[in-house]
């Protein structure tokens, strides 16, 4: 399926590298190439320009580093290990580990994670190493506590399974609560939009059909040299959500382009700087490299819906996103990036400089990476309890004109804390809690409609329990009425139901 890809019609890799060697290569950043194409036209620009450089600097959670510590005396087969209190993966040989960007410190939690360990290593800082073992005939040591720095290590290799998405969906929030997501802080009622990706500088969008970017492509990675070693996980190029897997020597990198980060109430990650040179080998590649922000589109999704399939709010171009305001529902919504456009430009310029100086040569891919790859969801094959399975179906309800004292007696008699208020047809109108009743009695109110909460948080019977628990946490409530499509009450789900019925299930 890849026969037609990578035809070196305008120039070969050898010709480009020869020109780099003699200092004659014409290298432009993607921003500059766009201007050149506007001036000269695509055909002429493609003939003149040898290489287009790209850049991106964004949070890339699927990142981490393989580390080899060397052997202590007596030696240890590390079974568990921590770097600055961040757990590293130890399902490898005795003194190899993998520190992942999203692993979090066992003492500092969200404030410090694997991404920060990698940044600190690259900065040359001393890192606390702690490891435990069970002891074997060949590896008698059972524990170790020491410090390491990057120069002490045999190998420190950045190896990121998924980086540099071609483009990414943008985020907004339709709910009435502020949300803290991996797309940053989202204000209520479509208060803002956040987006990722460098648009017209985005490395993988500038060769969107993967004609030149493949296994073995030499790249700018974290301020040093890296290589593409294959497609990234969740690679989905036919929808312009292609990704790459990359590796490089951490010892050659620079912490300006590898930064540990924390998304508030979400977790830790690593900002990774990546720049890829696009050799203009044919006009199709040139055309892709010349794509502008107003020709690159993505969707704004509603992160207020905590589901895999979030609703699309709007199709939008990177030009509109970068303008700082997006039109939604006749209103102007402020938009801002999460990835750094400033650093993306800097990376494209740095890579250009390296090539012009003759210190960076291009490589022909050893093999192409797929230009089609299905993105499969994870189906839950075991039956999971839904709201209907653990909700209380025998509900006690009140009517708006009920007397407060009678209702208080009823709640005590039945031992419940939540009283949904319904109309004559059984449709939900409001809710009262035992706390509301206490306040009502203190303030001498007589009837339920005077004190009931009208804006009721509800659940549907086919919802996943975890989604409802999250909603209850967000709203700081301990129970939700369960309603059908026409708002008739069919049950109630309380934290009491969850702790008694669900926990018992898990234990049994």
């Amino acid at each position: 399926m890849s026969e037609e890809r990578g035809i070196e019609k305008l120039r070969t890799y050898e010709e480009i590298n020869q020109k780099i060697k003699s200092g004659d290569a014409i290298v432009l950043t993607a921003d500059e190439f766009i201007k050149t194409v506007e001036e000269l036209g695509l055909e002429k620009a493609a003939k003149e320009v040898d290489v287009v450089t790209t850049g991106t600097f964004g949070a890339m959670c699927s990142s981490g580093a393989f580390i080899n510590f060397g052997h202590s005396d007596p030696p240890i087969k590390m079974f568990k290990c921590w770097l600055n209190d961040v757990p590293a993966y130890k399902g490898l040989a005795a003194v190899d580990c993998y520190i992942g960007a999203t692993a979090m410190s066992e003492s500092k939690g969200f404030d410090y994670g694997g991404g920060h360990v990698i940044e600190d290593l690259v900065s040359g800082k001393e890192i606390e190493l702690r490891a435990e073992a069970y002891g074997t005939d060949c590896y008698p040591r059972r524990s170790i506590e020491t410090t390491i720095n990057i120069n002490d290590l045999n190998q420190a290799i950045l190896l990121n399974p998924r980086n540099a998405y071609q483009r990414y969906t943008a985020a907004t929030n339709s709910t009435d609560k502020i949300l803290h997501t991996y797309m940053g802080t989202l204000l209520p009622h479509y208060g803002n939009i956040t987006y990722c990706g460098a648009g017209q500088l985005s490395p993988l969008y500038k060769d969107k059909d993967f004609e030149t970017i493949g296994i073995g492509t030499r790249i700018f990675l974290g301020g040093g040299i890296g290589y593409i070693i294959g497609e990234g996980t969740q690679h989905n190029p036919q929808n312009q959500f292609g990704t790459i897997m990359v590796k490089g020597n951490l010892k050659t990198m620079n912490s300006r382009y590898l930064r540990g980060a924390t998304y508030y109430k979400y977790g830790t990650t690593l900002y990774v700087g990546i720049g890829i040179p696009i050799p203009i080998i044919n006009e199709k590649v040139a055309k892709s490299a010349a794509l502008k922000d107003d020709e690159i589109f993505t969707h704004v999704l509603d992160y207020g819906v905590p589901s895999r399939d979030r609703p699309v709010v709007k199709k939008v171009s990177y030009a509109e996103l970068k303008s700082g305001k997006v039109q939604i529902n006749q209103g102007e919504v402020p938009s801002s990036p999460l990835s750094s456009n400033k650093l993306a430009k800097e990376i494209a310029l740095t890579l250009k400089k390296w090539i012009e100086e003759g210190s960076f040569f291009l490589t022909r891919p050893v093999e192409f990476i797929p230009n089609y790859s299905e993105l499969k969801p994870l189906e839950v094959k075991r039956r999971e309890p839904k709201v209907r399975d653990i909700m209380t179906k025998e509900i006690i309800v009140g009517k708006p004109n009920d007397n407060i004292k009678d209702v208080a007696k009823l709640l005590i008699a039945k031992g419940v804390d939540h009283l949904p208020i319904v109309d004559d047809e059984g449709k939900l109108m409001g809710i009262i809690t035992s706390w509301d009743l206490a306040k009502a009695i203190a303030h001498d109110k007589r009837q339920l409609h005077e004190i009931m909460t009208l804006k009721v948080i509800t659940a549907k019977e086919d919802e996943a329990i975890d989604s409802v628990i999250r909603r209850m946490e967000q709203n700081n409530i301990s129970g939700v009425p369960v309603v059908d499509q026409s708002n008739h009450i069919i049950g109630i789900l309380t934290t009491d139901d969850i702790s008694r019925k669900l926990v018992r299930r898990v234990i049994s």
Partner: protein
């Protein structure tokens, strides 16, 4: 000038702000207010300076409030900042913007000190003062 007014139990329930507005004839704007049963805090914007501002401050203090003049709210550590923009659109009063080079610009005069940007910053480059 922004001011923080701190109410204690004794002065809750009195229309202090209305009285000061009536007396000074200034369009004082409430930026943020947290009032509970026995304490209260209010952030207000007083469009005045010099003697007029002193008068406003005096009137609030006379009514029994603690008055703090807010001159600085947040600080961005430029060494840590990666110019990403994660703090820009979450700012509810557009006090943080980005220029054409994507550098982050802080407009002190617009800031209401809500602190949303502090948590929004992925590299912890923003601090409340």
């Amino acid at each position: 000038m922004k001011m923080k007014l701190i109410y204690s139990r004794e002065n809750l329930g009195k229309p202090i702000l209305s009285e000061v507005i009536n007396k000074t004839n200034l369009p004082i704007n409430i930026l943020e207010a947290k009032i509970t049963l026995n304490t209260g805090e209010m952030l207000i914007d007083v469009p005045a300076e010099g003697e007029k501002l002193k008068e406003v401050s005096y009137l609030f203090q006379k009514a029994g409030l603690i008055v703090k003049e807010i001159t600085r709210t947040i600080e961005i550590d430029r060494e840590k900042c990666i110019s990403c923009g994660a703090c820009v659109s979450p700012c509810p009063v557009k006090a943080i913007t980005q220029d054409s080079n994507w550098d982050v610009i802080f407009h002190e005069e617009k800031c209401v000190g809500c602190g949303i940007c502090v948590n929004a910053c992925p590299v912890r480059a923003i601090q409340m003062l």
